[in-house]
Each structure stands twice: as C-alpha cells, then as structure tokens.
C-alpha cells in the first residue's frame, strides 16, 4: 500500500521562499533528482531544510529507462543515495529514453511501442527498483510524434508496469497535450491506462507554440486538465497529486496556491 501524500508541488529554487512560507498549502515536494546530484554539502543542507518541512520524492529525468542497453549504474547508485537521504516513499522517471548512440539528448524522447521495447524497458525498470529498494514509478510523456509500433501506448505501459512490478505516474496534462496535438480523445485514452497501478499524478499548464500545445509547465492548469483529474478521481483513489511549474514563475504565489487548492478538491471528486 502507498501512503497518501496529498497535493504537492515540484520544487524549483526560484520558488524556494514562497514554498517555505506556504508550507500549509503544500503537502509534499517532488525534487528533480539530477539537480541534487552529486550530493554536495550545500545540496545536502538544502535537502535537510526541505525534508524538515516536507516529504520529498525524487523525480528522475536522465535514467533513460527506454535505452536499448542497461541503465547507467553510477547514476542509479546516486539516485539510491538521494532516495535514502530523503527517505523517499518512491522514486520516478519516464517512459522514454534520453541517451542513445552515446549521445545524451537532454530531453525525453518517445520509445517505440513494441513488445521488444516493453521487455527491455521492464528489465531496466526492474533493475532500478531493485537497486533503489523503493517503489519505482514511470510517467507517460508528452510527445509530438509517435514511432509506429504494434502496441497502443496504454497497452505498452501496462505491459512494462506489470513485468517490472512498477507503478504508474499518470501525467494528465501530457495526455491532454498529446490528444490535442495528435487528435484523439483524452478521456477515452485515460480510461485505457492501467489505473490499478496508479500512485501519483502530474498536473501542469501548457502554452501554444506554432500551433502545437506544448507541455511547457509555464501556465496555470487548464479546465480540460482538471476535468481529467476529476475523471480519474471518479474511478480510483489518487495517493499523490503534484503540480508542476517550471517556468514563467508568477510574481504572486497565490496563482500557484490557487492551482494547489483546485487540485485538492478535484482529486477527491469521486
């Protein structure tokens, strides 16, 4: 069973002071794991400050679980050390790869939804979960193109999670962006996700760029995304909901607090 963490916020240094002042509105923090690695004394001090007030959950972006080879053992060791330091209830990354052919892309790239990819990804996810010694969650990503394969996204995700005994971090904003850009129904897509493995949810706002709804995390959450949160909440419990805001930080933190409060009500709207 997973602890119910409530409504959290992605920690960004730019919002440090208002986050600390608004601790009553924030149940937990998600920290970008790679931003704290390696664990220098200064970073340890910051984590000590954060964990004194909040449950902290490391969210990785560079484990490249979808790479064709094994994951970077040194990075996994560092993530494990970080998770131990903050006593994380779980650790997460994405259904993607970020390193291929010796090149670090620097951004999440979509994998091909095939049985072969699912098998390999499940093996990597399982090895990470085992080494970290904590539950490992994988998040569906935003993408602007799909590499043709024999599986649907939801089937692919279900296979990986089942084989690896990992859990789902459902980003409803990503589903909304993908549905908008590629022309499918977000609500129907979410119904096909393996919600029995849902542990955490991401919500965020995006902006339009060149006719594409970008998953830019730089705006308030849209009503369409809140509707998806309510839809999921109507089907299953959501142990943890997280608001992501990575850019265009508002001068008035009340904008963030407003989204946190909406998340709190939407996530329990059965």
């Amino acid at each position: 069973m997973f602890a119910t963490l409530g409504v959290g916020l992605g920690y960004r240094p730019e919002m440090h002071d208002p986050i600390m002042k608004s601790a009553g509105e924030i149940d937990w923090l998600e920290i970008v794991a790679e931003s704290f690695l390696p664990l220098t004394p200064r970073r340890r001090d910051l984590l000590t400050e954060l964990t004194a007030r909040f449950v902290c959950v490391p969210h990785c972006t560079e484990l490249s679980v979808g790479s064709t080879g094994p994951v970077d053992g040194r990075l996994v060791e560092q993530v494990a050390e970080l998770a131990d330091l903050v006593d994380a209830p779980w650790v997460s990354d994405h259904f993607c790869f970020t390193t291929a052919g010796g090149v670090r892309l620097g951004h999440l790239a979509p994998v091909q939804w095939t049985h072969a990819t699912a098998d390999r990804m499940a093996e990597n996810a399982r090895s990470i979960r085992t080494r970290v010694g904590r539950p490992f969650l994988l998040e569906n990503i935003a993408y602007t193109f799909v590499i043709p394969g024999e599986l649907s996204e939801s089937d692919f995700i279900a296979i990986v999670l089942e084989q690896s005994e990992c859990h789902l971090l459902l980003d409803v904003a990503n589903v909304h962006a993908n549905a908008t850009n590629l022309g499918f129904d977000a609500a129907e897509a979410i119904d096909r996700f393996p919600l029995d493995r849902l542990v955490q949810m991401h919500v965020a706002g995006g902006t339009w760029e060149d006719g594409v709804l970008a998953d830019s995390h730089d705006a308030p959450v849209s009503p369409a995304v809140w509707d998806l949160v309510r839809q999921v909440a109507g089907r299953t419990g959501i142990p943890a909901v997280l608001l992501e805001r990575d850019a265009a930080f508002p001068e008035d933190f009340a904008e963030i607090v407003a989204d946190l409060r909406t998340a709190r009500t939407a996530a329990v709207a059965a």
Binding site: T40, P41, R42, G66, S67, T68, D72, F97, T99, A100, G101, G102, V103, R104, L105, G106, H107, A109, V111, Q112, T117, Y143, T144, F145, I147, P148, G149, N181, E209, D210, V212, A214
Partner: protein, 260 residues
C-alpha cells in the same frame, strides 16, 4: 541499429531531417547509416512534428548549459531569441557520436565558449563572459574539498588550499558584473588577478587581488614561510610587510590558503 539510436541520429544530423522532410528514403538511409528495414519506422515520422520536438530539445539543451553559463547564455538568448539561437548554435556545433554521454555537457560547454565569440561581432564581451563562466564551472568540477581555515602564525608555511587556483584574466569581474551583465560592452579590459577556489560550504569563491596581494598569494609555494613571503613582497618596509601578513591571514581564514 535500434530505433533510439536512429532517432538520436535523426535529431543530430541536419541532412537526415532534410531527407525526411523530402521523403527521400535513400538519402535518409545514407544519412542515418542504416539498412532499409531499420529506417522504415523513422521514415514514417511527421517531419514537422520532429522539427517541433527538435526545437524543444534545443531549448532543453540550453537549459542544461545555462547552469554553466548563467550570464552569457541568457544575454545571447535575449538578444537573438531562443529558437534562432538554438538553431544557430546547433548548426554550428555538431555533436560527435563517439563522445561518451557523460562528456556531452562538457563538450557543449566548450563549444558555447567558442560560439559566444562568433555569435555577434558587436558583442565581443559575450565571449569574455562565457570564458569566465567556463572557468568557474571547471573550478567547481575540479574542486577538491579544502580543510577548515586556521589562524595564521608568523613563521608557518602557507600553501594554496586544495582546489585553489590563481590566474590572470584579461577581464575585470566586477566590471563585467556591472556592464556585460547589463548588456553593455566592457569599456576597458584590464589585467586583474584572481584567486579562485572551492569552499565546500560556500561553493566557488572568486577574489580579485591587487598586484601586491596577488604576489603575496603567489609566493605561497609550500616552502616559503609567511615571514619570507612578506619580505619578498614588502622588503624591509615593516608596515607593508604587516599588510601582506594580514592579506595572507584573511585568505587563509577564507579557506584559500592553508597552513602547512
């Protein structure tokens, strides 16, 4: 060849993306260095969607290196726009596939340092600023934790703290802070001496020294005593020698020098 490898090549070889745009399968195979059967999945991609993803990718790359270049990169971005700058930089810098993933950021950082000098002839200060930022970054990477500062006693030997480095730059950091960071060209390029070291508690420290103070710090070679350094810099002038000792004591207290 795996799909991730092919996609990585597609995203780093402009010729491959051009081939995809023109639906030229033969050229795509050639650019990707792959067999026809391997390329099928990539050839089916929407080139406009890939280009949009590539722009996002470039911005993310810039976000990564912004940690290394917190001054020059945002200034260049502000001047030229994210997309234009990203396109220009990535066309200029073609990553070598043989570079280990761990080294990519370092390669990009070095490339940015050179690129910043060519991005605009009217903004030569961008190159100066990027060189300084690269040095700061290297100092952090190469830093070795230093021990706690101890009081300085006359007669003891001083050595630079582990991780400390002294160098002469053709830029004035304080001037850069006032002018280049505000988007103004550096008015004069003097030769100011810096001592750079890593303090495990405070992070990277940079102190600008006057000629006498720099000579004093440079005299700390692990063999001379404090008194010998003071004499080397100030001669028989006792007040000046006292000032040298005071400078060394302050540097030691800050963790830049250690008593051996």
């Amino acid at each position: 060849m795996s799909v991730p490898d092919l996609l990585a090549r597609l995203l780093t070889r402009p010729g491959a993306l051009e081939a995809l745009q023109h639906r030229d399968t033969a050229a795509l195979e050639r650019e990707l260095g792959a067999e026809p059967a391997d390329v099928a999945a990539i050839a089916a991609l929407d080139p406009d969607a890939v280009r949009f993803y590539l722009r996002t990718l470039q911005r993310k790359r810039f976000e990564m290196i912004e940690a290394v270049f917190p001054g020059s990169l945002p200034l260049a971005r502000e001047a030229f726009g994210s997309d234009r700058l990203a396109d220009a930089f990535w066309r200029w810098f073609q990553p070598d596939e043989s570079v280990a993933a761990d080294e990519v950021l370092g390669r990009i950082a070095q490339a940015w340092t050179q690129f910043a000098g060519t991005v605009d002839p009217d903004r030569p200060w961008l190159a100066d600023l990027s060189r300084y930022e690269l040095l700061r970054w290297r100092a952090v990477l190469e830093a070795v934790p230093s021990g706690p500062a101890r009081p300085v006693y006359s007669g003891d030997r001083l050595v630079p703290a582990p991780g400390a480095g002294m160098a002469v730059f053709a830029v004035d950091i304080a001037l850069l802070a006032r002018t280049a960071m505000a988007g103004e060209p550096v008015a004069t390029a003097g030769t100011h001496r810096l001592i750079v070291w890593f303090d495990p508690d405070a992070g990277l420290r940079v102190v600008r020294l006057g000629p006498s103070a720099y000579a004093a710090a440079e005299g700390c070679d692990g063999r001379r005593t404090i008194a010998q350094v003071a004499h080397m810099v100030a001669g028989d002038r006792k007040p000046a020698a006292g000032q040298v000792v005071d400078v060394l004591a302050r540097l030691a207290a800050a963790g830049a020098l250690r008593v051996s």
